[in-house]
């Protein structure tokens, strides 16, 4: 399908352009923040002579444009640079384990939320206004209304500190071992993230299902005498799922940013916490790397959703030829 390839290439090109614009914006925004890396490192001990010395050591006395291009040039050579602060670790080595941790958290949360919310959403759309639908609606609206950290705190109280003592309240991930060998630390943060994101999928699929079930072609299928199971599986669900794909993609992309709150709450060492730390230290190479990653996740998920939508919907699929 050359048309599809062309579409993908175009979207990837646009995505790349977005990333470049973002990198300039992030750089400018970090510069606009009050204080710089040197004053942040020194805090109250920032005497003028010490600030001067540290700026020189960090290369912050160079013109801004030089600083930006020295960073961008490094990136083109595949070198994301070094953290400006502390032991000046290479960004890749510093963020590597944290990216894995955050990705693991998102993956587990997605695996928890997506299948369950698809099931709940389609069933409550099918049995609209029944007791089941009412309770699912109540539940999903409640979770949608609660801020993420409240969900997290309630889960901690229930499973870790007050009622039951079955799961750890904070995720003390051992940096020397893989996150997959420490799964018990993942359940609570992942469940929090899942509960915060699932309601949107449930609501969307329910609405979409109701709309589809009232559509002419479903009426037609029913009038034709097709069994209800076939009507649902072959006619209703594939059509109802199309808008939901977009919602899922947005949800996953939201998680990439939404992990910040969850990571903070559970002291989970992922990119969210690293970003907060980097911003407060004005550690530009680290901020750039994380924002770049999150933006790339957005671009990729949206693109994937668009491609899936095209492939699934017959009208768009045939339009490609």
């Amino acid at each position: 399908m050359p048309v599809l390839c062309k579409l993908i290439l175009r979207r990837l090109g646009l995505g790349l352009l977005t990333l470049v614009v973002i990198s300039v914006l992030v750089f400018a925004a970090t510069e606009a923040l009050p204080g710089d890396t040197a004053t942040q490192i020194l805090g109250k001990s920032a005497t003028p002579e010490r600030v001067e010395l540290l700026r020189e050591q960090l290369g912050l006395d160079r013109p801004l444009i030089v600083q930006y291009f020295s960073w961008a040039g490094g990136l083109l050579r595949g070198d994301a640079g070094r953290s400006l602060v502390g032991i000046e670790m290479p960004v890749a080595r510093m963020l590597g384990p944290r990216v894995v941790n955050s990705a693991a958290l998102m993956l587990v949360a997605a695996l928890m939320s997506i299948p369950v919310s698809l099931l709940l959403g389609s069933l409550s759309g099918r049995f609209r206004d029944g007791l089941f639908d009412a309770s699912v609606s109540l539940g999903s609206l409640t979770f949608a209304a609660l801020p993420t950290f409240v969900i997290g705190i309630v889960l901690i109280l229930l499973f870790a500190t007050q009622m039951l003592h079955v799961l750890p309240a904070v995720s003390r991930v051992q940096p020397s071992a893989s996150i997959w060998s420490q799964m018990d630390l993942l359940w609570l943060p992942a469940l929090t993230l899942a509960l915060a994101s699932a309601p949107f999928i449930v609501r969307m699929l329910r609405g979409s299902m109701i709309e589809v079930l009232e559509s002419d072609y479903v009426q037609m299928a029913r009038l034709k005498g097709a069994p209800e199971r076939i009507v649902l599986q072959r006619h209703a669900l594939p059509n109802a799922i199309i808008p939901v794909i977009q919602v899922i993609a947005l949800n996953l992309a939201w998680m990439a940013g939404g992990v910040v709150t969850v990571e903070y709450l559970f002291n989970y060492p992922g990119i969210g916490w690293a970003l907060v730390d980097a911003v407060s230290n004005r550690d530009v190479p680290v901020i750039q790397a994380i924002v770049f990653l999150v933006a790339a996740v957005y671009v990729v998920f949206n693109l994937t959703a668009d491609i899936l939508t095209i492939l699934i919907s017959p009208r768009l699929r045939t339009g490609l030829h």
Partner: protein, 548 residues
């Protein structure tokens, strides 16, 4: 940004009630502890008190303490910017360095100067020459012995303007050429001018002894000192792991391993303690005290410190160029009420003079109380009649209670007809040049220090933290004389005079000294309240802690 204009906050009354109920439980608890202590004192056989500073009536002697175990301590404030270099790190990063590095002298838990790596020190009659003898047989973590060469290297490194060493500003009386090795264990320091604070400089955390050739470590490797714990791994902003230094010259460590874990959020830190992920928590929020009190298996440790979060009045700027305004402002403060409202009761009343543990601190001067009548009349004499408007600068980085304490001050000042506008400055720029140091009226923060040490830091025009622009001829005369006086009694008498001047016409409003709180599992014992007050209530003396 000045969204809060000193309007009376409707919540304050309610806050007071909550605070009072909290204090009730706390008082009960303190009575309980006092009763337990009294019982222990009654039974002579119950006391197995060791000679160590950690020995209390109820704790076993050093020899009887259980060895082994892994202490896990939760802290906040550490970030990726921390390095394990004891000469450049302080508070949050310093907490991790204190386990590794040590100084020639040190402070005990009651702010008394004690010997650490030094076996003895001698001050010449002119107050210029200090001879320091090292304890024999000391070794670094890599097995190398500690010699005079290491001491010379350590102090020259601090004085090198190319390093970020913190202690340089406290060693203005020392030139690199004044540091001399006499023999393997003896070093002499010849000062350019007599200065009694040099002894304290030798005990300052930034003056730690590192081996010859030491440079800022890029991780755990190379972080070599003489301390009770050897660092084994360092993950910036996440955790630092140590093993016990079994060749340690001092007491302990009793446990085998220590891990200091960084938390971004105080709630997560508390949850970690309550769910058993850590054994010790450094710096508990006062709002979390009831949770610890109501959960069996956990204990509070409360340390009275000499740290304080005062108000600064710049004496060369209006309206504080008039001493009567400064005196009036000091009379505005209802100290206990401010401690109750802004610090939930966790603080102890100050009397407008700092360094409460200084041997010369005048405890006999009457406690200053709120006197709005008198404040009004002083302001009137200074030409302000219910029409003084002033901006109070503060930020979330100026102290545990801020900006809450600033709001309370604004409310109390109304009583004297002063309209205070609270200006919350972004914590990231509060200390920047151009802001800090030029505020007429502001809040600041200090740790536990002796009087002369603190004066050097903030009371002279060339001080690095010259926040009050203090200048007073009579004061300067006695203080400069005190720095030069080697005799303890004569010096303390001079310092006492300086204290009195501060009390009468100084530029700080010191309404409180901080109380610092740690929490720990009751399985971990041997915690000693330390009035140093930076980084935690125990000065992070994990070497004294043991499991029961």
């Amino acid at each position: 940004m000045s969204d809060q204009e000193g309007k009376p906050s409707p919540d304050l009354g309610k806050l007071g009630e909550i605070v009072n109920s909290k204090r009730m439980t706390r008082r009960r608890m303190l009575q309980g502890t006092a009763a337990a202590a009294a019982l222990a004192a009654l039974g002579p056989f119950a006391s197995a008190c060791g000679g160590s500073e950690s020995g209390t009536a109820a704790s076993p002697s050093a020899a009887a303490r259980k060895k082994g175990g892994h202490i896990r301590s939760a802290v906040t404030g550490g970030t990726t910017k921390d390095v394990l270099d004891g000469q450049v790190s302080y508070i949050d990063a310093g907490r991790k360095c204190e386990q590794i590095y040590e100084q020639l002298l040190g402070w005990d838990s009651n702010s008394k100067l004690v010997l650490m790596l030094a076996e003895s020190y001698d001050v010449g009659a002119d107050g210029l020459k200090y001879t320091v003898k090292l304890k024999p047989g000391l070794t670094f973590h890599n097995g190398k012995s500690v010699t005079a060469d290491d001491v010379v290297y350590s102090f020259r490194r601090i004085l090198d303007p190319k390093t970020l060493a913190l202690a340089r500003e406290h060693l203005t009386m020392l030139e690199p050429s004044g540091i001399k090795k006499v023999d393997d264990l003896t070093v002499t320091f010849t000062l350019t001018q007599a200065n009694a604070t040099f002894r304290e400089a030798l005990a300052y955390y930034g003056c730690c002894i590192v081996p010859v050739g030491f440079d800022t470590p890029k991780g755990a490797k190379g972080a070599i000192g003489t301390g009770p714990w050897k660092v084994t791994s360092y993950y910036p902003g996440e955790q630092t792991e140590y093993v016990a230094n079994r060749d340690y010259w001092g007491e302990g460590p009793y446990a085998d391993k220590l891990t200091i874990i960084e938390f971004a959020d105080p709630t997560a830190k508390l949850n970690a303690l309550l769910s058993g992920s850590v054994d010790h928590l450094a710096v508990l929020d006062t709002s979390q005290v009831p949770t610890i009190e109501n959960t069996p298996g956990y204990q509070l440790l409360e340390a009275k410190t000499g740290g304080f979060d005062p108000y600064t009045m710049a004496i060369d700027l209006k309206p504080f160029d008039d001493v009567r305004v400064r005196q009036a402002f000091r009379l505005i403060v209802d100290r206990q009420a401010m401690i109750d409202q802004a610090l939930a009761g966790y603080g102890w009343v100050g009397n407008d003079m700092f360094s409460p543990f200084d041997p010369a601190y005048p405890k006999d001067l009457p406690q200053r109380e709120q006197d709005l009548e008198q404040a009004r009349s002083l302001l009137k004499q200074a030409g302000y009649d219910n029409d003084l408007n002033i901006v109070l600068n503060c930020s979330t980085s100026t102290g545990a209670a801020d900006p809450g304490a600033a709001q309370v001050f604004a409310q109390q000042a109304k009583g004297a007809g002063v309209n205070v506008k609270v200006n919350k400055v972004d914590p990231n720029v509060y200390w920047n040049k151009g802001n800090y140091g030029s505020y007429p009226f502001a809040m600041t923060m200090w740790g536990t220090n002796s009087y002369l040490w603190l004066c050097a830091a903030c009371m002279f025009p060339n001080s690095p933290y010259y926040e009050t622009h203090w200048k007073d001829e009579e004061w300067e005369k006695v203080v400069l004389e005190a720095y030069k006086t080697a005799d303890d009694d004569a010096r303390n008498e001079l310092v006492r005079q300086a204290f009195t001047i501060d009390y009468e016409r100084g530029a700080y409003i010191i309404y409180e000294f901080n109380t610092m709180l740690d929490a720990h599992s009751d399985k971990l014992q041997g915690l000693v309240a330390n009035n140093f007050g930076e980084g935690g209530a125990t000065k992070q003396r994990f070497n004294l802690m043991y499991f029961v």
